[in-house]
């Protein structure tokens, strides 16, 4: 049936793409560095002389110039300028923009193909996790012994802060970047995202946000943790400015990506893809992206005010001049708690796909999952002050926030119900994604149960600011979200890379990760029960044994991730060629070729059922048919070949 010429084989004229032809990551780097140096030079000779804010202003100017310069160089603004100048893009320009005839170099360019963007995100996520993981190793090495002098207190605080933020950025984009871009549009039968250029923009903007984050180490380090509580953060050095520029830039990216996801799902679904036939992962991407649109702008606002406080002497957060640290804490957590679910919901959606496919069963309670995810998202915007139970701010609100926080366990419970309902009497095909699926269930149960202690004010008065909290949120975010995302990665790896993942090495990695993780964070729960504070460079020798155990566990955990990375890279390079549908799954991404052609489908899909018809009657086994007269269709067959 394959007779249509592939779009990517189109021969383009040598001028197609115009300015884009000359732009890539290198020109981005050159423009970024060039403009940054220029801005720095100008600032040095003007604002630097300001006694109070000179160096903060200089750093603010330099970093802003970097971000703008990089985006000029990579081509973020091309289309806008072209439109202003009256040069609309031709079809050829668009094809060039989508990467036609550029081979691998398109991965280093402002490429509008959602699959290229997804792959770029995937690589970026690996890089960020490696950086964050390396910083975690610094932390655990410092904490190997009670009075370690591996890192000075200043460097330790800087490492802790950037470990936190690097991981937060990485986890926010770990699913919404690679999979909501690569997989989700195919899942709904779309040719691309609704706004392909904004899609490319969301990626390159987040790339430009990373160097300022790492630059913090060279200008004194951030002392205030990833939460950057004011007024400590206002007191901090120019590193805090770099940090704020990173966040502001990152929020632009997340907002653009969120809007793009929402509009894509609203407007680009294939015929027959009704809301109640959408895969859970699509729902999760929409809910996660939509929640991000609520949460992240608060972060942008907060950080903008922070830059103003530091570089211009306003006093939003400085109590001595009429501001309030509590204001920062409120705005931060109004972002911060929904953000936890911005991280968590998309991986949980991915996990549901994995559980369904490998149990060979429909997801259990489809509509309740959607309701639960929506409920979690809705409640999550009303729970922020549970991070502030011990701050002394509005003690009378302890009750209401205890209520909303504990209510969240109802929809979260439904997600568990759906997970075990899907596993119940399933066929349990234990391929690698399923290993991570089981690990998620255990980790998230531990994270959930320990969460209820923290939601209780009298117990929180003991556990707040204590290693218990650290262990709790690593169980939910690393053990929960990141393990679910890893399940998703192993699941979609054949589709993204066109190769099968080496599951033997993957299983070695799994065991190292699973065991290393439990050892690391169970030891930290124990530290927390005993009363060890968080974020300390040195601790009382009474906590020595459990810290030693935790550090060893962390090394094993990191070794697991490295082995997994090896499995991914080596399989990507020379793994077995993947068939289009290695898992005999039903959703649309498995029913187009691998590698996925430009614009995804050679024949338009017509969706007739939800993608969970496992074990059902013949008519509901088929998720979609292809082409105008494609009425046939085997259960698990590939309809386009």
């Amino acid at each position: 049936m394959m007779s249509t010429a592939l779009l990517e084989d189109t021969v383009l004229s040598p001028t197609a793409g115009r300015l884009y032809r000359r732009q890539n990551a290198l020109t981005g780097l050159l423009f970024g560095v060039g403009l940054a140096v220029l801005g720095w030079f100008i600032a040095l000779n003007t604002v630097q002389s300001n006694e109070n804010f000179g160096s903060d202003m200089t750093v603010a100017v330099t970093m802003t110039c970097w971000v703008i310069g990089f985006n000029i160089g990579i081509g973020t603004f091309n289309a806008v300028f072209a439109w202003v100048l009256g040069h609309d893009q031709s079809r050829e320009d668009e094809l060039y923009g989508a990467g036609v005839s550029q081979g691998r170099s398109r991965y280093f360019k402002y490429c509008t193909d959602h699959k290229v963007v997804g792959t770029q995100y995937l690589i970026l996520v690996f890089v960020l996790f490696f950086v964050g993981g390396t910083l975690a190793m610094m932390i655990r090495t410092q904490l190997l012994t009670p009075n370690s002098s591996f890192l000075s207190p200043q460097t330790y605080n800087a490492v802790v802060s950037i470990h936190g933020m690097c991981m937060i950025i990485a986890t926010i984009i770990m699913v919404s970047g690679p999979f909501a871009n690569f997989i989700m549009p195919i899942m709904i039968g779309a040719k691309d995202m609704a706004f392909p250029r904004l899609n490319a923009m969301s990626f390159w903007v987040v790339v430009s946000a990373v160097p300022p984050l790492l630059a913090t180490f060279f200008v004194g380090g951030v002392n205030a943790g990833w939460t950057t509580y004011a007024p400590l953060s206002v007191q901090d050095g120019p590193a805090m400015i770099c940090f704020a520029i990173t966040i502001i830039t990152f929020v632009v990216s997340v907002t653009v990506a969120g809007i793009n996801t929402l509009i894509t799902v609203l407007t680009m679904r294939a015929k027959g893809m009704t809301f109640s036939r959408m895969p859970i992962f699509v729902w999760a991407s929409v809910i996660g992206g939509g929640l991000g649109l609520y949460a992240m702008p608060a972060f942008l606002l907060a950080m903008t005010l922070m830059v103003a406080d530091k570089a211009t002497g306003t006093s939003f957060f400085v109590a001595d001049q009429g501001g309030s640290g509590w204001l920062w804490e409120n705005v931060f957590w109004i972002m911060g708690h929904p953000e936890v679910y911005v991280i968590l919901i998309p991986p949980v959606g991915a996990l549901m796909e994995v559980l369904s496919t490998f149990s060979r069963k429909p997801v259990f309670a489809y509509k309740m999952i959607i309701g639960a995810m929506t409920g979690v998202a809705g409640l999550s915007i009303m729970v922020w002050a549970h991070h502030m139970f011990t701050t002394g701010w509005a003690p009378d609100l302890a009750g209401p926030f205890m209520l909303t926080t504990e209510l969240i366990s109802i929809p979260t419970g439904i997600i568990f119900l759906a997970a075990i309902g899907t596993l119940w009497r399933g066929s349990n095909w234990v391929r690698l994604p399923m290993y991570f699926g089981f690990l998620f269930i255990w980790n998230f149960i531990v994270g959930g149960v320990t969460g209820i202690y923290l939601s209780d004010v009298p117990a929180d008065n003991y556990f707040h600011g204590n290693m218990f909290v650290t262990a709790h949120f690593h169980y939910t975010l690393l053990g929960g979200a990141m393990i679910a995302a890893t399940a998703g990665l192993c699941y979609w790896f054949p589709k993204v890379t066109g190769r099968m993942l080496d599951e033997r090495v993957g299983r070695w990695a799994f065991w190292l990760i699973a065991i290393g993780f439990q050892v690391t964070y169970m030891a930290q729960f124990y530290e927390g029960f005993k009363g060890m504070p968080r974020r300390v460079a040195n601790y009382d020798p009474v906590f020595r044994p459990e810290n030693l155990v935790s550090s060893i566990g962390a090394y094993v955990l990191m070794a697991g991730w490295v082995v997994l990375l090896y499995a991914l890279v080596s399989s990507w390079r020379n793994g077995a060629i993947a068939p289009a549908n290695p898992w005999s799954a039903k959703s649309l991404e498995w029913h187009t070729e691998t590698p996925v052609p430009l614009e995804n489908f050679l024949q338009d899909p017509l969706v007739i059922n939800d993608p969970y018809g496992y074990g059902g009657v013949a008519s509901e086994q088929i998720h979609a048919v292809f082409g105008a007269h494609a009425h046939h269709g085997a259960n698990n067959g590939d309809h386009t070949s």
Binding site: Y229, G325, I410, L423, R425, W583
Partner: protein, 288 residues
């Protein structure tokens, strides 16, 4: 294909309902129930016996409330957590497809939902949440009761030192004895008499700190230009650590000091001696 050919979820549910009912009496249910029972018992025992041993001895009711909450919440959560783990473990134990990993096994039962299971789950989890809330609010409001003649202690957070002050006041010690403090006492350690309710007025001279007298089980932030208040009644003799629980910059790790809970007589003697000597030396004298 037109829509009337499509099944909707509800009709499928109805089709399967009898089978679901039969499921509930099958060996799978019995196996899972056994696992659930074992895990629940394990969880409950952990909650009752293990968790209090993980936590330090508390010096006030507030701290013991925290320990009790951990115990109760573990016990309450155990059946739910055990159910999730039991189903997952059962499904793992019944994996029969190792031999043919290359190909998917035959499809499982198409259970798309079960009103009974979902409804029961919702009701149970809602009841549990109501219980958690009731428990938390009861404990919390009991902790909010302020004693009329409590000892006032001013706590000041500085980057990276705590300092304490007992302002001039009349302190009612146990047995209606009273001790008049005529001149404010400044302390680098937190010295308190036993069984006297204490009100801590907490503030900061620079950035936000977290006042955490660990074994009292209370915590409140020290904010610049604001005074926050927290109460506790230490009821055990001995010493423990007062920590900063809110990252406060360079030497946050070292921002801690000691609290000494001493007997009335020791406290009186210490105050009478001008409150300059380390209180520890007085305890030693009393013992000798």
């Amino acid at each position: 294909m037109s829509s009337n050919q499509l099944h909707n979820d509800d009709s499928i549910l109805e089709d399967l309902a009898p089978e679901v009912d039969r499921d509930l009496h099958s060996k799978h249910v019995r196996g899972t129930a056994l696992l659930w029972l074992i895990m629940t018992v394990g969880g409950v025992l952990c909650g009752i016996y293990l968790t209090p041993r993980l936590m330090p001895h508390m010096f006030a009711k507030e701290g013991r409330d925290a320990v009790l909450t951990v115990q109760v919440f573990t016990v309450v959560a155990a059946p739910v957590a055990a159910l999730v783990c039991a189903v997952a473990l059962y499904s793992l134990l019944h994996t029969r497809h190792r031999a043919s990993l290359e190909h998917p096994p035959k499809d499982g039962k198409p259970l798309r939902g079960n009103a009974l299971a979902s409804g029961a789950w919702l009701i149970v989890s809602t009841l549990l949440v109501v219980f958690l809330l009731f428990w938390g609010l009861t404990e919390w409001s009991a902790q909010q009761v302020v004693h009329a003649d409590s000892l006032t202690v001013n706590v000041v957070g500085n980057q990276w030192v705590w300092d304490f002050e007992i302002p001039a006041q009349k302190v009612r010690l146990e047995g209606d004895k009273s001790l008049i403090i005529t001149k404010a006492i400044s302390m680098s350690q937190l010295n308190l008499p036993i069984d006297v309710p204490v009100t801590f007025n907490v503030t900061s001279k620079d950035v936000t700190h977290g006042f955490w007298p660990v074994n009292l089980g209370i915590q409140v932030d020290a904010n610049p230009r604001a005074t926050t208040t927290v109460h506790a009644t230490p009821d055990r003799l001995g010493k423990f650590v007062v920590r900063c629980s809110q990252l406060c910059g360079l030497n946050h790790a070292y921002m801690y000091t000691e609290a000494n809970i001493v007997s009335d007589s020791t406290f009186e003697a210490w105050v009478a001696g001008g409150a300059t000597k380390p209180i520890g030396s007085l305890i030693a004298k009393g013992a000798a």
